[in-house]
């Protein structure tokens, strides 16, 4: 029984850690897409810029030697936030501002921006990936004694989960408790009226987009702990983050949280073959087991997860928490 509980805990941890990576990546997009209706296909590239900012901070701090070199991750988070927020600001003022109310055009324009950003990084830094190594205290993990080889919960993943929680709580408090958050929500709900009441809508837009971009930068810092940093890093995350936001219901922070966790857990369960192992003992479920085994490698697991998302969107096209109202369309 204890063993089963342990397995469950470990499974839950793994699922939640995958989900938290998705969530922190999708948080910025949820704000930009949810509050402003702007499709930002350059979101992945903003994450990539955050990761590169982390790389540069790492190099600087490594130059100063220990103990500074150990702290670089903490310092990299605000740096990544500021850098990508600035880039987002430029993007908003330069391009997005003229495309409000035309989401399809924004989609194309931001795709163009993503191409430019990628190529920019390739020409200025390098086409090759760069090495971002976590400081020693983030490598390794908490040991849980089970059997001969202890299972280890990686510190990096725990760090990311904590960072995600901080970001989500921070965004919540910013949006719901601060005056600028109030202005953002007002402009989202009724732009003309907000303008009439004296809220500087243009500044609010710029701030919202910068916030979303900054969060993308923080996500970029987080993913350096898990994977490679290179010009194409953003492309690995962009579609997944869009799925999280769309499934969660546009404009709903809570929905994004739920959908990220659910998608993370489902991806884990299918990819690691846990579904198959759980159902194995049951005789009449064998064909189902065979079906799940076919999808058990990570390649096919992705197919299945997306298939499930598309199926889910048939049932609830507006996501888990659709925006309330009496609109004829989404």
């Amino acid at each position: 029984m204890a063993d089963f509980a342990l397995q469950l805990f470990i499974g839950a941890f793994n699922g939640i850690s995958i989900g938290s990576v998705l969530l922190i990546a999708a948080l910025g997009l949820a704000i930009v897409f949810g509050l402003m209706g702007v499709i930002n296909l350059a979101h992945g590239e903003l994450m990539m810029l955050g990761a590169y900012a982390t790389f540069f901070v790492q190099n600087i701090f490594n130059g100063w030697g220990d103990p500074w070199a150990q702290m670089y991750t903490i310092a990299a988070i605000p740096v990544a936030f500021v850098v990508t927020a600035l880039v987002g600001l430029i993007l908003e003022r330069g391009v997005i501002r003229f495309l409000y109310g035309r989401p399809l055009e924004t989609l194309l324009a931001t795709w163009g921006v993503s191409l430019i950003l990628r190529q920019f990084v390739r020409t200025t830094v390098s086409t090759r990936n760069v090495d971002v190594t976590a400081p020693a205290w983030l490598r390794g993990g908490i040991q849980i004694p089970t059997g001969a080889v202890p299972i280890q919960l990686p510190y990096a993943r725990i760090f990311i989960i904590i960072l995600t929680i901080i970001c989500v709580v921070g965004v919540y408090f910013f949006l719901n408790r601060s005056s600028w958050g109030l202005r953002i929500r007002a402009v989202t709900q009724n732009r003309p009226m907000s303008a009439c009441l004296g809220i500087p809508t243009a500044q609010v837009d710029a701030l919202t987009f910068a916030l979303g971009s900054g969060l993308a930068g923080v996500a970029g810092c987080a993913i350096t702990l898990l994977g490679s940093v290179g010009p194409n890093t953003g492309q690995n995350y962009i579609i997944d983050t869009f799925m999280v936001v769309v499934v969660g219901g546009v404009g709903n922070l809570f929905g994004s949280i739920i959908s990220a966790m659910v998608i993370g857990i489902v991806t884990y369960l299918i990819g690691s073959g846990t579904f198959a192992t759980l159902l194995n003992p049951v005789e009449w479920l064998q064909p189902v087991v065979g079906f799940f085994n076919f999808f058990a490698d990570s390649s096919m697991a992705k197919v299945m997860v997306f298939g499930l998302i598309i199926a889910f969107l048939q049932v609830r096209p507006a996501g888990i928490f659709p925006p309330k109202g009496r609109a004829v369309e989404l």
């Binding site: 003229f98 090759r128 090495d131 080889v149 994977g227």
Partner: protein
């Protein structure tokens, strides 16, 4: 919501300014890794590859952009260095080599398109190119239908022996099979196979599974990650379930996935003491990009490491660093690319011309004192290579823990896979050709 008109003139101005600046930036401050393109001759109507005039044109076809650019740009550098050295020493047949570099854009149909262009439009004498098996297979038809010649420098999955290709990378029996044998002897009998989802890992794993069966090992699991995917947690869980007490992991992941894999393996506590990982796509360049901290104590199987102790290698590494920078490293595909240019040069000089048929015949039997040791071109268009296994050290270099006594002959048709067991390839004998049954 009506927004103020942007002002087309302003935008066009800024747009062209940005574009112009970017081209200028690229042209002026170009680091040596950029591919320089010489404009192809228009209206060159000679039907034989251009051996007339005072330059000989060769084609270089690799991905200079896209996901594969990470690896392939280093190979282009090695080829350019070889060409530069040959030109400095007088060129081939007294003529200078002119390299026409094309970008495959990590897109296989583009590879086929550019291969056609190099052969038909630029009329090159030979093409040095490709990295992924997909790109090689994409251009194979072009080279075979036009009866041209491709030299391919990367280790691959075998099961191919084209008359129009010369392979200077390792076949599975020169890289994978010796690694499996060494692992069985030194590390354990239970293997978990992890790879990226494309033909090389799939075929390589077929070979490994058959070999393990024949030699008394056991395959406990097999998993494939889509290219570029970075979520490794499910695979780690499966490894832990299949090998609770530790075991050998054979890694054929490629590209970005390797970074994620090693970082997350260490995070999950699967270290090289209980879970040694043998990789065949991780070389010095990748170690640098992943970070030696995550790779310390793991292994890789290649024919060449930068730490190989031969006088040729010491000279080559020094020359390479002098040309491209002290922080650069050399690895196996780069070395294979470097030597294939020399092998081709030797073949041309023996044949006395750049005519494809003559060079092809002259290439077989060529030997070269390569940085990896002596190599010989076999009749099956592959070269015999020394096999080495290296352990990754803290400084990012490999310590060679195993080395064969001499070069191993290549077997393009794998002798463990039932479908190709007993077959060989011999292009010097018209009766044998691509695939013939060898006598026992």
């Amino acid at each position: 919501m009506v927004q103020p008109n942007f002002g087309r003139r302003k935008f066009l101005l800024y747009g062209t300014a940005a574009l112009g600046t970017s081209i200028l930036l690229k042209a002026c401050g170009a680091p040596p890794e950029e591919g320089s393109t010489t404009t192809p001759d228009e209206g060159d109507t000679t039907s034989t590859p251009s051996g007339d005039g005072d330059t000989i044109k060769v084609g270089i076809l690799h991905s200079l952009s896209g996901t594969m650019a990470i690896s392939e740009t280093t190979v282009v550098d090695a080829e350019k260095l070889a060409i530069k050295e040959i030109n400095a020493a007088g060129g081939v047949l007294g003529k200078q080599i002119e390299a026409i570099i094309e970008d495959g854009e990590s897109d296989w149909p583009t590879f086929a398109e550019k291969a056609g262009k190099l052969i038909d439009q630029d009329q090159v004498a030979v093409v040095f190119g490709c990295w992924t098996s997909a790109s090689r297979k994409a251009v194979l038809d072009v080279f075979e239908s036009k009866d041209h010649m491709l030299w391919y420098p990367v280790q691959y999955e075998g099961q191919e022996c084209s008359q129009n290709v010369f392979y200077t990378g390792a076949a599975p029996n020169q890289q994978i099979e010796p690694a499996v044998e060494w692992l069985l002897k030194n590390k354990g009998k239970q293997f978990f196979l992890v790879g990226s989802d494309y033909v090389f890992p799939r075929t390589a794993n077929t070979v490994i599974k058959e070999q393990l069966k024949a030699l008394g090992g056991e395959t406990v699991g097999e998993d494939y990650l889509p290219l570029g995917n970075t979520e490794v947690t499910p695979i780690i869980t499966r490894i832990q379930q299949a090998l609770p007490d530790g075991g050998v992991i054979f890694n054929t992941l490629n590209g970005d996935s390797n970074v994620a894999f090693f970082k997350q393996m260490q995070g999950a506590g699967l270290g090289p003491d209980k879970y040694p990982v043998m990789s065949v796509s991780v070389a010095e360049e990748e170690v640098r990009q992943i970070g030696p901290e995550f790779l310390k104590g793991h292994y890789a199987s290649w024919n060449y490491f930068q730490t190989v102790k031969t006088p040729e290698n010491e000279k080559w590494v020094a020359d390479f660093k002098a040309e491209y920078g002290d922080d650069r490293v050399t690895n196996d595909p780069m070395e294979a690319a470097y030597i294939m240019v020399y092998l081709w040069k030797q073949a041309v000089e023996e044949a006395g011309s750049t005519d494809i048929e003559a060079v092809r015949a002259a290439a077989v039997g060529q030997t070269f004192d390569a940085p990896e040791g002596k190599v010989t071109m076999n009749a099956n268009h592959h070269i015999s290579k020394t096999v080495r296994i290296g352990e990754i050290m803290e400084d990012g270099m490999f310590e060679i823990v195993y080395e064969t006594d001499g070069p191993i002959d290549p077997q393009p048709w794998n002798q463990f896979v039932p479908d190709t067991k007993g077959y060989g390839c011999d292009w010097t004998d018209p009766a044998k050709g691509e695939r013939y049954k060898m006598e026992a």
